[in-house]
Homo-oligomer: 339 residues x 2
């Protein structure tokens, strides 16, 4: 038993105690046609995913992703000690209805689009403390269930502003374990909420960028690291607008991540050909890009050390209608390649 060490105010560093045993990703048609299309385990041919409505489609998306992660590790529901999951649907029913029949001790989360890092963070503590041999961390989002809930009926064909983002139809799942593998989960940095007063819900990137910067700077400060100590610092879904902002904010604080910064939301679509405005968003964006692209790069040793910083906008249509701000949050997970 090698327990980790709390470093600074927000970061825990593990002592080789948590690894990724299995990872799996699933996406919709548009994501499959994007620049990362070839790296996902499953690309669905349409948004229905064998269901009669968008909510059930998202349930199937998440459930099938979990089943895929089980199959890759040759494990089943019974082998899981805990599952941590959440999503964007009201009352997180994407997760609960997808996972309800699997009979795994369940912790429901709400971290908006930061959920993949939140679930991996809390899951890693269970593994580190010796309470879980196999802990599942998973999340999803679905373009159609999100549009219906947050914006307009699909049939309305609403026009987007250039700063708006496109909710990814996607899901990613990892199984965390103390069993050694090629991907080690080294550290977690728990984010604080940051509210700089953004009220435009069509500019989530601006709302989330300050929280992403705060979390990245906290991580570097707590561990006394420089940006160049990472091959890449990967934000979740800041999109093109938010990615510019996070770099500016960090530069104003005297640091510079621009040489190593990447953003899942800016990577998953081609803005020139796919009409996705500022890029991808949703819990499933960083989840599918992490499990689809970055886990493969890590396992092959193409990336030796990365920081995943999933970003969330904590708001609802109700708070928006009441004129409230959009509150940002970001959680970070440090990962490295092991031979």
């Amino acid at each position: 038993m090698n327990l980790g060490t709390k470093m600074g105010k927000q970061t825990i560093v593990y002592d080789d105690s948590v690894y990724i045993k299995s990872f799996y990703s699933s996406v919709g048609k548009l994501e499959g046609e994007g620049p990362l299309g070839k790296c996902f385990d499953v690309v669905y041919k349409d948004e229905y995913i064998e269901a009669k409505n968008w909510e059930q489609a998202e349930n199937n998306l998440l459930k099938n992703t979990v089943t895929g992660a089980f199959a890759k590790a040759e494990l089943s529901c019974d082998d899981m000690d805990y599952v941590f999951s959440g999503d964007l649907l009201n009352q997180c029913t994407g997760s609960s209805f997808a996972l309800k029949d699997m009979c795994i001790p369940y912790y429901g989360l709400y971290g908006a689009c930061s959920t993949m890092a939140e679930s991996m963070s809390l899951g890693s503590i269970m593994v580190d403390a010796g309470y879980g041999q196999n802990v599942l961390a998973v999340t999803s989002s679905h373009f159609c269930s999100s549009e219906k809930q947050y914006r307009f009926p699909l049939e309305y064909g609403g026009i987007r502003t250039p700063s708006a983002q496109w909710t990814v139809t996607g899901s990613g799942a990892v199984i965390l374990s103390p069993d050694k593998s090629h991907i080690c989960l080294d550290s977690i940095t728990t984010g604080k909420m940051v509210d700089l007063g953004v009220t435009d819900n069509a500019n989530m990137g601006a709302a989330m960028a300050p929280a992403a910067a705060d979390c990245i700077l906290a991580h570097l400060r707590d561990l006394e690291l420089k940006p160049a100590d990472y091959d890449c610092i990967v934000t979740g879904d800041l999109g093109i607008v938010g990615s510019t902002l996070v770099n500016e904010i960090i530069q104003k604080q005297g640091s510079d991540i621009s040489d190593v910064h990447m953003d899942c939301g800016s990577m998953i679509f081609d803005p020139n050909t796919q009409d996705t405005a500022s890029g991808g968003s949703g819990c499933g964006c960083s989840a599918s890009v992490f499990c689809g692209h970055f886990c493969r790069e890590l396992i092959q040793g193409n990336i030796k050390k990365m920081l995943l910083v999933c970003t969330g906008a904590l708001m609802s249509p109700t708070t928006y209608q009441l004129g409230e701000t959009v509150v940002g949050i970001a959680h970070a997970v440090g990962l490295s390649y092991r031979e």
Copy 2:
């Protein structure tokens, strides 16, 4: 460092590593007029709680409860290592807007009305693993914000069925710490989702009772305990209908908790004079009754050993309209008096 022990599939037993340093409860007017009215730290004179709308009222309720818990322990935001919180509002904005300016590393949860036990469970793991000296666990619900979101406009004056429950306007907060106090957090049992096919969203007690029974039986089995080993086994908000059911289900499994069973939802209102049908519900029900009534009984040694089993119904108005079932979950926390 005395790390706990995983017992059976779902339970962790701590080795004197987690205590409740501070607890605080706040409720609305109706709850203050109920049988437990005198035990809450604050009873608000109306449902507005110094706000202009019900969502802000719930934010103030949760924020003031946290501030109260800080004051009792002579601590501030800066002393908190983590906060775990969630609520019933879409996208959990009750928690995020209440806590956003406190700058505490934040994990958002969605466990429906099981949130108090979920937040205490995850918070206790942080304390047990040595990653938190002061960890805040808190939740809230508000009758008016819930009615507006889940049911009808208040002005409509909808009539309730006898099995329906009344969402408690209330909040409860605890600060968990390794520092010894009179209330020790001994164990946690993480619940599995249970879906027996209940589709009546005016009978949450029936939907949650099977999950409560499953969690209680898992706890007793994992720790090889009998119901009589506890002074009381306290369910969260099964209400009058669900309380009958949980006892029946457990009896069918060859056990009997009826001598020690209590239910926060059945205790908080007087059904004969308060017109609250089957009793109280909402995250704030078990949170306020635990922090208001049971923590006082524990600290005085009137209760020596109790099991708190917070119960949640995982559904949304959307899943109800789609004809989906209401999925139940329950998480349990074992507590004892220490001299």
